[in-house]
Symmetry: C2
Subunit: 343 residues, 2 copies
């Protein structure tokens, strides 16, 4: 039976993770879960972000379910670089998967887009680019200060994520992949991405392709999100585009993500796109849907495609039944979805 | 009398620039204009992108009005790096100014946003960051290829554009500046931007401030564009955010921009955010409003604030009078706006 590590984290993290676990248990009884206490709370208590011993223990699991980490009192970068990105890089989670669907019953902020019309997935590179942590500063705090950030891109890293995007497109109805980059300005990395994309595309004549600059893609995600099927892009562009995609499909409260190591050498990690939302934490009003859908991605990755599909269907029913101005109770949402999944 | 250089460029560039000039002439009679033939057409004909002699001549003008350059047959980067960015960098145009207003009569794709509710300006840094052209590749075309792009940021460069943003905020009603960056991942550059922003903010106690990560800002531009007044950000983030801002306020057909050297050492350059749109070029159906508004920014920069305000008012009247599905004729739009400005 699968063994998962659970990092509930801070703020609303524990609240939404509890519901995700409820639903996972209903879908696949017997998944073994071990909780790990990581995040802002632990950092404040002990100064530790991710002890090596914990990293080793996490590596021994089949997957990781993460809620949200962080609070405004932790300096920027400490938990992001020391925990989230550390895990993505240490576990070679090179596919950062972010599906966006406009679910029946969910209103898009876009006037012209109707339920069911948007169904896209962004395959964001997860282990390279500007997230590599290559950069520095000189003369810090003086008028002569310079600060650099370097985007590192390898053929190895680009090709494997592009291949993953094409493989996913083949399993979808529209079979289309859009490459997003900024080849006209970032000419070196852009050329590597474009050439790699063309080479992989040539092996997939059954998949339609297009290229867009990141600024144009950001615009089209607002004006015509329907046009996208699979989008493959670099780490930073993916970060930005997936928040836009979430916004046009009802908000990050519904957006799930997986940081996936497709080779299975290391555990993949699944988490809602939203953060710890300290403003609403502890009140039981956070929407657990993003965490629940992240749980579905987790089960899918572990080979439980049927269970994942049942969760997705239950979420769809839950959202279709919501009124536009509903006040939700986190636990009730989880209960309803779990009941539906078990039924 | 002011002397401007006009680079009409390719595709719809000449069509929309003709209307912008009509309107400029109506607003400030006697502006002297010299045309320069640059862009894809010249590149194809002569192989030249921006001869040094032309750069020197351009430098002798009070401002530059640019239409659009490029066509799909020019390799990516050639005209962008060789012409557009070359001018921004050579003329130290460190303030890339991009106002977004939801004009009366213009429908936003956002269901919840009403005419008049969005009025923001993005102050995008124009001479640093990932646009510096620092990067390279090794083992190109082999499995061992690496490609890098470097973001270069200086206290000098950041401080001057942040100061400009605060100065602009002081001249606006809401007096608010939002810094957008990604301080939690790009910790070196992010820290420089954040510290500089705080230092300048401390000198402007009458200006409200906030900070947002770029992914959050991309989302909020879709869900609550009303919340922004002045946004200051780096070169690449500004590129992406301004296309989103344009999208939510009726599209890049209406979006003007200025690449400004506030010191006046070099000419500033004004251009629509849209490209050369080869698909509709030559048919006289391109909307010249973005070019006309760029002309207004140009006149404002040259000290003709009244003329600029008259153009803006005329554009507002033009847009308010348009039906939702109007088929426009480029020249007729220009004629109407020019007539209104002259009246
Ligand atoms: C918290 C941050 C490091 C992270 C990222 O930038 O990847 C987040 O925005 C995300 O999208 O998962
Ligand atoms: C054409 C390109 C170089 C340019 C940019 O990226 O700055 C454009 O997108 C813009 O926004 O003016």
């Amino acid at each position: 039976m699968a063994r998962i590590a659970v990092v509930a984290g801070d703020g609303i993290g524990p609240e939404v993770v509890a519901e995700a676990r409820k639903v996972i248990d209903a879908a696949v009884p017997g998944v073994e879960a071990t909780e790990y206490d990581l995040g802002a709370a632990r950092y404040h208590r002990t100064g530790e972000v991710l002890p090596d011993s914990v990293l080793t223990e996490l590596a021994g699991h089949d997957a990781i379910l993460l809620g949200a980490v962080g609070d405004p009192t932790v300096p920027p970068g400490v938990l992001e670089r020391g925990l989230l990105l550390k895990l993505r890089f240490a576990f070679d989670q090179y596919v950062n998967l972010r599906p966006s669907r406009l679910w029946p019953g969910v209103a898009s902020p876009l006037a012209t887009v109707k339920s069911g019309e948007v169904d896209l997935v962004v395959v964001r590179e997860g282990t390279e680019g500007l997230y590599a942590g290559a950069g520095g500063a000189l003369h810090r705090g003086t008028p002569a200060e310079i600060a650099t950030e370097e985007s590192l891109n390898t053929r190895h890293g680009v090709e494997r994520v592009v291949r993953d995007a094409f493989a996913r497109a083949r399993r979808r109805e529209r079979r289309k992949v859009t490459l997003v980059h900024k080849t006209n300005v970032l000419t070196h990395a852009g050329s590597l991405w474009a050439r790699t994309f063309e080479a992989v595309a040539a092996e997939h004549p059954d998949v339609a392709t297009e290229y867009q600059h990141v600024d144009a893609a950001a615009m089209f995600l607002v004006t015509q999100p329907q046009r996208y099927d699979v989008v493959v892009t670099d780490n930073l562009f993916g970060d930005i585009l997936t928040d836009i995609a979430a916004a046009v499909t009802g908000g990050i409260g519904l957006a799930a993500s997986g940081s996936i190591n497709p080779d299975g050498t290391y555990p993949s990690m699944f988490e809602p796109v939203h953060g710890s939302a300290p403003d609403i934490a502890g009140r039981g009003v956070a929407d657990p849907v993003a965490a629940v859908l992240s749980g579905a991605l987790l089960l899918d990755q572990l080979g439980h495609a049927d269970a994942a599909a049942r969760i997705t269907a239950a979420v769809s029913a839950e959202l279709a039944g919501r009124g536009p101005e509903v006040t939700l109770r986190t636990a009730e949402v989880g209960d309803r979805i779990a009941a539906q999944v078990a039924a």
